[in-house]
Symmetry: C2
Subunit: 220 residues, 2 copies
């Protein structure tokens, strides 16, 4: 007979229990949390920075959790905006899990925070298997990468309802057609919304805020 100290069912059960705890904690503190997923180098951090820059003059208090195997490059970018931030070292894990988010939430001062961005570890496969307890999820991809991800690895796109195609300023140079990406996405997720953005130059940010249901005069 072979034994281990735990079985995988219990690991999953523990994750779901912690995700539920995270959800309740965020709800009690009236924090709207957004899990931002997507491959490496598509501009997740830049997009979050742009959103934070819009929130600040509206009086919305923002915090952001950055993940990295090593270092704190994204965390420093979040701090530069004036937002509260925590750097979550994820080591060899291909995702943030509910345990990691729970630790970050306990370490972060949530008092007065309205919106929390959780920038996940880059990837389009592993992160979707780990529920965190955030109320919202966004998948960011890049126009420069084409739409192959949606056709070949559709699950993350079917399980979230908002996809941002960033770096749209480079779509023409890469021969990527936005209509093809929209059609691919509509086939995979007929209920989903697709927003084309260029975080570097600031376009598409209003559409993204609208898709998330944010307005400057929202009640916080």
């Amino acid at each position: 007979m072979e034994i281990t100290q735990y079985n995988t069912d219990d690991v999953l059960a523990r994750q779901l229990k912690l995700a539920d705890e995270n959800y309740r904690l965020l709800k009690t503190r009236q924090v709207r949390a957004i899990n931002v997923m997507g491959p490496v180098g598509v501009g997740k951090t830049s997009l979050i920075v742009r959103l934070i820059e819009r929130f600040i003059p509206c009086g919305v208090k923002v915090a952001a959790i950055a993940a990295a195997a090593v270092g704190d490059e994204d965390h420093q970018r979040f701090l530069e905006t004036g937002a509260r931030s925590i750097n979550l070292t994820t080591g060899e894990d291909g995702h943030i899990d509910a345990t990691g988010l729970n630790r970050a939430l306990l370490a972060l001062d949530l008092a007065g925070i309205n919106v929390l961005f959780v920038e996940n570890v880059p990837g389009i496969i592993s992160p979707v298997d780990y529920p965190l307890g955030t109320g919202d999820e966004i998948v960011v991809i890049a126009a420069t990468s084409g739409g192959g991800a949606m056709r070949k690895y559709p699950r993350i796109f079917t399980q979230t309802d908002l996809v941002v195609v960033n770096k749209i300023d480079l779509a023409a140079a890469t021969g990527v057609k936005t209509e093809t990406m929209s059609a691919d996405y509509a086939r995979i997720n007929p209920h989903g919304r697709i927003v084309f953005a260029d975080a570097k130059h600031g376009s598409g940010i209003d559409e993204l805020l609208a898709a998330l249901g944010f307005e400057c005069d929202s009640k916080w």
Copy 2:
């Protein structure tokens, strides 16, 4: 007491044993196998197609294994070149493992094959944990994604000795400096080699062939 039917040590041991079997099988058949890793949408398939196009007129016999959660888009692109190809459905796995490669090798007719490309599941974290038994490994990233991956998720770059920065034609448009990427890579892997390529327009392919030690008049 909690029990499972297997323990993780045995899974790893089985993977290493199968990777060793794959290595011996490839060596016996005199097939040089190259594991091509990297994030989604960086042009791994395009790069392999360009290499195959160079090999064919040299009389080098090539096969390629494509991975996908669903569909066979990349597999069809390999078949169009005239190369032998197998489509490996990887489902929710974030990597090809030694079991998957073993099945593909047994399904593929290796007779007369000189070079085998194994295009891994997209990602920069999970694939590096799964030794396959291939003799060579390449990591492909895109200039359009910047060099953040190397700084934030360095492990795959330290464990392989050849990185291809593809889509270099778009480096200027994205503000990415090749010298910065070269310096970042040299810091992480002083023994590694970095090749800048543009698979779409065919540049950098000669440098990549040279880095892999291939010449048209090589003895096969």
